[in-house]
Symmetry: C2
Subunit: 314 residues, 2 copies
């Protein structure tokens, strides 16, 4: 799989941003380690999801491209697929719950995607997407359980390690496990002694449970502020990859997540969404005791005014 991450990096050249790595002396003193933040909030569409979407869609055949692609997501993956579709002149269809935030629907629509809404109380987004896929000959680009999506997500870590050299530890947010497994594959390929830790909200700890019991656990609509981690479970591909490549999983409280978003805002002047701040939350709450050189993936920065206002005032 590491070779696929390396190949993805070549494909992304000139299309994805090579995002900066930032540091904070205040944080380093606070946690007594050297912390490097990979700023995927500066990635296209404001999150790492562009990498996986681009890497998978660009490899489709001309016939597949002509028929179009489909996915189900109300968040960053939807925008990523829509933007890649716009760049490559491929028709995109996004299945989205009818209660998705207006701002996310608008952003996805702005990239020229067709949006199919459904009532999340009555239907499953995956069933609707599967049906449309079969009916129309679309190619499904799932949000995480897809080899080329996983390989694409791994390129953020690959870039970071090529820029700053080896790490002793890498902290990665975990939702469906696409970013986590891609990052772990890249880290172990580049820096085999690097300890890779997946970080989840306590309220959505399905992957942590699955990791420790080696049986797949599920959660349903967990009420965490970290909306990128509200996925029901790890996937068929990501679960075994997480078991193989990840060293440990830790959880953090909602308060720790909000504290991390505030630290990034006030001390580092970075806009980071709650899911993106999980790694820092683990450091600040001492869920992870850092050692030596520690990489942290800030996975995205798409946060609305109400959520940021609530976090800054709490």
């Amino acid at each position: 799989m590491f070779k696929q991450v390396q190949a993805a990096k070549e494909r992304l050249k000139g299309y994805a941003h090579v995002t900066p790595v930032m540091t904070s002396q205040t944080l380093n003193r606070l946690v007594n380690a050297e912390v490097f933040f990979k700023c995927e909030n500066f990635q296209r569409i404001g999150a790492f999801k562009f990498r996986g979407a681009f890497n998978s869609i660009c490899q489709l055949s001309e016939a597949e491209k002509a028929r179009g692609v489909i996915t189900y997501s109300s968040g960053n993956h939807a925008q990523a697929v829509a933007l890649v579709g716009q760049m490559m002149k491929i028709q995109t269809t996004i299945v989205m719950p009818d209660n998705a935030p207006a701002i996310k629907r608008a952003a996805t629509k702005d990239y020229g995607a067709r949006i199919v809404e459904y009532d999340p109380e009555k239907a499953s987004r995956k069933d609707i997407a599967d049906e449309l896929e079969t009916e129309n000959g679309f190619t499904m680009i799932p949000p995480y359980d897809h080899k080329q999506v996983i390989a694409g997500q791994g390129t953020a870590t690959l870039e970071m390690l090529e820029e700053i050299g080896s790490l002793d530890m890498l902290l990665v947010p975990c939702g469906g496990g696409g970013l986590l497994s891609g990052s772990a594959i890249a880290a172990k390929g580049m820096s085999p002694d690097c300890r890779v830790m997946g970080i989840e909200p306590e309220l959505a700890d399905d992957a942590t449970q699955s990791f420790h019991t080696k049986r797949l656990h599920r959660v349903k609509n967990p009420p965490t502020i970290a909306d990128g981690t509200r996925t029901p479970s790890l996937g068929k591909l990501t679960f075994p990859l997480v078991l193989e490549y990840v060293d440990d999983m830790k959880t953090v409280s909602e308060n720790a997540i909000m504290q991390a978003v505030r630290f990034l805002f006030y001390r580092m002047k970075l806009v980071v969404e709650p899911s993106g701040a999980l790694g820092l939350a683990a450091l600040l709450s001492q869920a992870v005791v850092p050692e030596g050189r520690v990489g942290v993936i800030l996975s995205g920065g798409n946060i609305d005014a109400d959520t940021m206002g609530m976090i800054l005032n709490s």
Copy 2:
């Protein structure tokens, strides 16, 4: 003066951050130009002010350092002087209005500064600072009207031009004119054809008026959201420097300033304070019609929860 900016850059090496230059393809399409943002919100203490404070204080004699330094400011300059004092083990005294935001007083105190409060209705901060200076033998480090402060502030532009090459235009926020005159000196020294524009809020347009009439205008406590530009007027040194080195001055509305802060938050994931967003406000409001390669100094990122919340919700 350009040589003094170059010398300041050498002095700052290893102490100030070399802040990144960022771009936005969305903005470039929107304004039909190539815009480069110098991100001084990532500077130490969250604003360019560290540069001038360090460059002036580090040149004091050992006897002056032993007696300590003093300044008057409720904002970024206070924190900058306090931090430099802490780094160099120099006693710092900051004269601050008793209604200054608690968060700014706390940050300044955290750096070990002694804070002298006064009632801004009854006394002038400069008078109080002058008195303390005489009584205690402190050295005054004024917020802008000081050659070495001005030279220090110019290093941000010098760094940017050394990194990205020449510019056709440079947009710089203007309060007391320290950043503006330093930036203009650096720009003309490096890239003589670069058109340097100072940007002020309409509500605090004293420097624009002074520039156009060539007579010093003043404002008193202008009610602009851009708190870094609430200075009463250009200084004895900065006024002639602005007349000599700056090509034009433009003003922007409060709405344009807020729109720029929102753009930086949502589209670029950057936390920038209202004063720091003046250059982008001029582009978005078409107060300045950009040409070719345009530099914009994002001067700082120190903004509190209430102000950011208000701006995001407006």
